[in-house]
Every structure is written in structure tokens, then in C-alpha cells.
């Protein structure tokens, strides 16, 4: 059958035009992301392994126990995750993938940071403005249902290979829950609390920062957790455009049909995922 609508051609033309006309912007974004990734990666790797493990284990323990850090019931709750962190990280270190694990962590953290910086304001906007909500919603649906691989093409086009296109594709893929859950959290703040604020003379900004955002925080943190997990699930795909880390080892494992390599690096990703998930979830669940 003949193609009647050549939609792809127009998209391609549009992307081309964007690339040519705004190259300064793309260059700036590329530089910014590359620099951030580099600095963060260097920082993470400069921390001695033992210290790093202890800090994260401590953080995990604190996230689980909260204010009961030094109480008996706290010990029961927090010890499991802290032990998991120590053993899991020792395993990754022992398998020789520590550097890659930190590269992956860097990518996840940078992508998450960008996704939140973009996502939370859009979430607030969509909660407060019905028109904005009507525009943002379908875009989010589009972003989530489009296969993640598709984002790689324009990402390479604008930023060639390396960490930047990986981060960009990851951000696009992991952004929606940040927007959605921020919006949901704000919408779910009880009307009578907002009315009370208004009755006492709160400005719109005061209502947002003193009432809505604090009360939406658990939901927003659940969104952060989702963003991190989605970002982590992108690491293998991102490695196809040259992003470094555990993902690229998995990718090598696929290409070389190397079961040992694939399994070890895959397990590393799982360990990272569990640690990140449990820690952020605990913070989200806390009052």
C-alpha cells in the first residue's frame, strides 16, 4: 500500500531545523550535563569504598528508623536494610564493578535531579491550572507510552554519543511520575486546610509553599522514588548511545553472548535498584 501521510518526514525535517538553528543551546546543554556527570562521578569515586558503604548503610538505617534511631524497635526495623547495603555493595565491589556502579549511580542521580527540576514545577502548574493540566496530561501519556528506544534517536542527533544523550533519554522517560505525583499530591490536599489558609490572609504563594507543598510532600517523594526506579531501568537502553556504567556491561554481555558478565552486571543493577528504592520509599512513607 502506498504511503499517503509521510508524518515521519515532517518530524525529521522539524528535528533537523531545531538542530541547525539552536545549536548553541544544544551545545550548552551538552556541556552542562557532561560537566555535572563528570564532577559527580569523580566525587563518588573519590570517596573511599569503606566510608561510602558505611555512609549509605547509615542513611538506610536512618531512613527506616527515623526518630527512633537509637531505640530497640528502631534496631529491628533498620538493621535489615543496613546489612543488605553492606553485603550488596561488597558483592559489587568484589565482582569488580564498583566503578561502573558509581557511573550508573551518577547517571541516575543526574537524570533524577533534572527530571525533578523540570517535573515538579509542571506538576504544580497542572494542579493549579486546568488549561495547563489539559495540555500537560496527554503529553505525559505520549512520553510514557512511546517506546523508550525512540528517544535515543533524537538524543544522538542533538548530542551525538556519550553520557548526555543517555541522560536526556532517561530524563524524558522518567519525568512523567514527577509531574503526575506532584500534581496529584497538591490536588489531594484537603480543601478545608486551604480555605483556612485563605481565611487567615494567605497569598497564593503562601498557600503553595506553606500548605500545599508540605502536605503533598509524601506523594511527591513517592514520585521521586518512581523517577529513580524508571531512571535505573533506562541504564541498559542508555548504554546503547554510549552512556557508561553497569548498563554498558550488560550491553557488552548481550553482544558477546557472555552469560557471566551479563548476570553479574545485571545483579549489580538490581542491588542498586533495591537500595535506592528502599531508602527513598522509607523517606516518602515517613510523616
Amino acid at each position: 500500500m502506498d504511503r499517503v501521510i509521510d508524518l515521519g518526514k515532517y518530524i525529521e525535517k522539524g528535528i533537523n531545523a531545531l538542530e541547525e538553528n539552536f545549536s548553541v543551546i544544544w551545545r550548552a546543554i551538552d556541556d552542562g550535563i557532561s560537566w555535572t556527570v563528570e564532577v559527580m562521578n569523580d566525587t563518588l569515586l573519590s570517596v573511599p569504598f569503606i566510608l561510602f558503604v558505611l555512609v549509605i548503610a547509615g542513611l538506610a538505617y536512618y531512613a527506616k528508623t527515623g526518630r527512633k534511631v537509637f531505640k530497640k524497635e528502631g534496631l529491628k526495623k533498620g538493621l535489615g536494610l543496613a546489612l543488605f547495603v553492606i553485603l550488596g555493595f561488597l558483592l559489587i565491589y568484589g565482582m569488580g564493578y564498583w566503578k561502573e556502579a558509581m557511573q550508573t549511580t551518577t547517571l541516575v542521580l543526574v537524570s533524577t535531579l533534572i527530571a525533578l527540576i523540570l517535573g515538579i514545577p509542571f506538576g504544580i502548574l497542572s494542579a493549579k491550572n486546568k488549561t495547563a493540566d489539559a495540555i500537560i496530561r496527554p503529553i505525559l501519556d505520549f512520553m510514557q507510552t512511546m517506546p523508550a528506544f525512540v528517544y535515543l534517536i533524537p538524543a544522538i542527533f542533538f548530542f551525538s554519543v556519550g553520557n548526555t544523550p543517555g541522560v536526556i533519554a532517561t530524563v524524558i522517560f522518567s519525568l512523567p511520575p514527577a509531574v503526575r505525583l506532584t500534581s496529584l499530591g497538591i490536588k489531594n490536599v484537603q480543601k478545608d486546610v486551604i480555605e483556612a489558609g485563605r481565611a487567615f490572609g494567605a497569598t497564593e504563594n503562601q498557600i503553595l509553599f506553606k500548605i500545599q507543598l508540605p502536605l503533598a510532600m509524601p506523594t511527591i517523594l513517592a514520585g521521586v522514588n518512581q523517577v529513580i526506579l524508571l531512571a535505573l531501568s533506562m541504564v541498559v537502553i542508555a548504554s546503547m548511545v554510549g552512556a557508561k556504567g553497569l548498563g554498558s556491561i550488560v550491553y557488552q554481555g548481550i553482544q558477546q553472548n557472555n552469560i557471566a558478565k551479563g548476570f553479574e552486571s545485571g545483579l549489580g543493577i538490581v542491588i542498586l535498584a533495591i537500595v535506592l528504592d528502599r531508602i527513598t520509599q522509607s523517606f516518602a512513607n515517613k510523616k
Binding site: F200, G201, L215
Partner: protein
């Protein structure tokens, strides 16, 4: 009444109307033409929430707006601080029109002049009790030390000293509402708006809170607009009461005025079930200018004549200063007349109870059980007789039986 009406008018509401819906102007025009609420809803799909409400709230009084759900009372109170934007009409606060205030002025009014207490408390779960009580002050930008001091004072006023560091979730409904009240008081506003503030509480706690509010009001003398659907509550705490129905004000008056003189069938049906014993006072029930025997002037014969004319077998007696002394009985007076006495003073019985005009039916009922004559209502200062309360009217008020039924009962009782 006269004493109160001298006080300043704090809030004055003029023809306040609020219409919900998109075609407000059209609906308002129809309303002004006198078209009914139902017709307006059918024609414009707009609901009339408040329909030309006018009233005045005096400084230092508790003004209760009372009505069933859907009567527009909550909508009305929200027009006073413009949480609801009135469609037409004016709200004067100390003489200036709040409905014409710009954004900044309105914020100032809300921050300094009017505080609100809500049915669902509206506390912030992530803040402590102290921070919640200080929230209004935080919003208007007071420094931390200062606002915490004021909030502590307010918490003490509502009896929550020592709970500052708790969180709302750890408290009962009654305590949460105390926090809500403290938050409103901490702002030290001229007007307190209380929207069904006690309606979500258990009956006992509700009653406690009402007492507490009255105590606080004794000290602070705020102007309070209080919304409720509970007539007993309205009567208990209200200096004056407005009864609303379908967005229209049916009647304004004191509890007693409304109970004794309901303005419409609706109000009448509404107040029917109220326990009138604690509300109706001697002043309402007494008949003025009763036949009197003057001790200095009337001898036994004159007294007998007066009793026969009035058809009574006992009459009150006053001295030359018009001070109430007691009663004389027909049978005693007849004996005196036979003995050719010139004064009734020997027949005078002074061991009779008398009441002041603000005595309630409940207080007067025990007084009539041992006597068979009307209760004398005397002036608190001069002792002058103001009027008499017939036993029949007391029993009618207490039992809600009709005139004839009560007379029958009394006759039966006398026969025994």
C-alpha cells in the same frame, strides 16, 4: 435591648446576594424582578445561595446565623471575609465596604480584623499545636518569638497549655477545635467568624466548648458571628439569632423574641421542639397592670370589692412607695371586714415568693407548687411590682398543653 442597641455596629450587611453559576448577571436581574429561586434555576441554571440578606452585628455580641443545611448560612458567612465573592450587596466593617476592597486590603482585613474557625478545624497536620496556633501570625509575617508568645497565650486561653509540641493527629476533635479557636484568637481580630465550629463534636464535648466560648467571650468581648444548624446551640450562646431558609433571612431577634413571636410558619415549626422552659422569662409571661391593693388606702371592704371585680380570691398588696409587700386572701379579708378592721395589714401574708423579670419558666415552676396565686414579678432595685405571672401560663409553657387542658388539670388537682 435598649442598652445593647447603643453599642456600635461592627458589621453591617446590606442586601447581600450570592448566586452560584455562570449566568450570574441574568439570574440577578431575574431575582431583582422578584422571580422565584426555582424559576431562576430552571431558566439560567444558577442557584441563589444567599438572597438579599440584610442585618447588623453589634460590637461585642454573639450573633448566631441558624438554618438547616442548604439554607445558605455557610455561604453567607464566607461572604463576610469574601471567601465567597458576593454577587451583589455590601458588607460594611466599621463603616467601610469590604466588598470593594482590593486584593491587598482584603488580605489585611483577613490578617488583622477577621479570623475564622471551621467545622473541620482546618489544622495543618505537619505543624505542631504551637505552630498551628501561630499560623495566622506567621502568614502576616510576625517574627517567630513574638508569634509564639501570642500563640502560647491563646493556647492558654483555650485550656491547651502543655500541648504545644503535640501534633493535631494525636488530639481529639474537641482539642483540635480548641487549637482552631486559639489560632483565631492569637490574631486578636475584631471579629470572629465561626462556621459550625462545634457541629462535628460529640454532644458532651460540644456543650463544654459552648461553655468555654461563653467564658472566653466574657473576658475578651469579641464580635462573633456564629453559624449553626442546632437551635439549642443558637439559643444557648446567641445574643441574637438569625433564622435562614433557602438563602432568605426569615427572622432576626433574641431567642425569646423568636420563640414567643415566630415571624413565619417555618420559624414556628422550627422552634416548636425547643425546650422553652429555660428561655421564656417572667417578663414575657407576666400580665402588666394587675389589680393591686394599696395598704395605705384600701380597707378590707375596698379590698373585697377589688377582688370581686377582678374575679380573684387573692390580690397583691403594695405600700405607699409602690413596693410589693405580699398577698391578701379573700377569706381572711372577709373576717377582717366582719371584725370591722380598717386596715388589711392583719391579713397580709408576706411569706410569698416573688421573682425578677429575667427568671425563666424553669426557675419559676418550683415556686408555684405550694401556692395558688400568681407569681409577683418585682423590679430588682425598687421592689416595685411589675406584673404577675399566672400559674396557668407557666404550666402552658412547661407542658405545651393548650389553655383549656391546663385549666382542666388545675381544677382536677384542686378537687383532690
Amino acid at each position: 435591648m435598649t442598652e445593647k442597641s447603643k453599642k456600635n455596629i461592627k458589621l453591617k450587611v446590606e442586601d447581600l446576594t450570592l448566586i452560584f453559576g455562570k449566568r450570574k448577571k441574568e439570574a440577578l436581574a431575574l431575582l431583582n424582578k422578584g422571580v422565584s429561586k426555582e424559576e431562576i434555576l430552571r431558566k439560567t441554571k444558577c442557584t441563589v445561595g444567599v438572597n438579599k440578606a440584610s442585618f447588623e452585628v453589634r460590637e461585642g455580641e454573639i450573633f448566631v446565623i441558624m438554618g438547616l443545611s442548604g439554607s445558605g448560612k455557610s455561604t453567607l458567612i464566607r461572604c463576610l471575609n469574601r471567601l465567597n465573592e458576593p454577587t451583589a450587596g455590601k458588607v460594611f466593617f466599621d463603616g467601610h465596604d469590604i466588598t470593594r476592597e482590593g486584593n491587598k486590603e482584603l488580605l489585611e482585613t483577613r490578617r488583622h480584623e477577621m479570623s475564622m474557625v471551621f467545622q473541620k478545624f482546618g489544622l495543618l497536620p505537619h505543624k505542631t499545636i504551637l505552630e498551628n496556633a501561630a499560623f495566622g501570625l506567621e502568614l502576616r509575617g510576625e517574627p517567630k518569638a513574638e508569634r509564639e508568645k501570642k500563640a502560647l497565650d491563646a493556647l492558654e486561653t483555650v485550656g491547651l497549655k502543655g500541648y504545644e509540641d503535640q501534633y493535631p493527629a494525636a488530639m481529639s476533635g474537641g482539642m483540635q477545635q480548641r487549637v482552631g479557636l486559639a489560632r483565631a484568637l492569637a490574631n486578636d481580630p475584631a471579629v470572629l467568624l465561626m462556621d459550625e465550629a462545634f457541629s462535628a463534636l460529640d454532644p458532651l464535648i460540644k456543650s463544654d466548648m459552648q461553655d468555654e466560648l461563653l467564658q472566653i467571650q466574657d473576658k475578651l468581648r469579641k464580635t462573633i458571628v456564629f453559624i449553626t444548624h442546632d437551635l439549642d446551640e443558637a439559643i444557648k450562646i446567641g445574643d441574637r439569632i438569625v433564622i435562614m431558609k433557602d438563602g432568605i433571612i426569615e427572622q432576626i431577634g433574641t431567642a425569646e423574641e423568636i420563640l414567643t413571636n415566630p415571624a413565619s410558619e417555618y420559624v414556628e415549626a422550627f422552634v416548636e421542639k425547643v425546650d422553652r422552659k429555660t428561655i421564656i422569662t417572667a417578663e414575657t409571661l407576666m400580665f402588666n397592670k394587675p389589680t393591686l391593693i394599696q395598704l395605705a388606702k384600701d380597707g378590707p371592704k375596698g379590698a373585697i370589692r377589688k377582688m370581686r371585680t377582678a374575679g380573684m380570691d387573692a390580690l397583691p398588696v403594695e405600700d405607699e412607695n409602690r413596693k410589693f409587700l405580699g398577698y391578701v386572701w379573700l377569706k381572711d379579708t372577709l373576717k377582717l371586714a366582719e371584725a370591722k378592721e380598717t386596715s388589711v395589714s392583719k391579713a397580709l401574708r408576706t411569706d410569698v415568693p416573688s421573682v425578677y423579670k429575667d427568671y425563666t419558666v424553669e426557675e419559676m415552676l418550683p415556686l408555684i407548687s405550694n401556692h395558688r396565686y400568681p407569681l409577683a414579678v418585682v423590679d430588682e432595685k425598687s421592689g416595685k411590682l411589675l406584673g404577675l405571672v399566672a400559674q396557668t401560663s407557666l404550666i402552658i409553657e412547661a407542658t405545651r398543653y393548650g389553655d383549656e387542658e391546663v385549666n382542666e388539670l388545675i381544677e382536677k388537682a384542686n378537687d383532690i
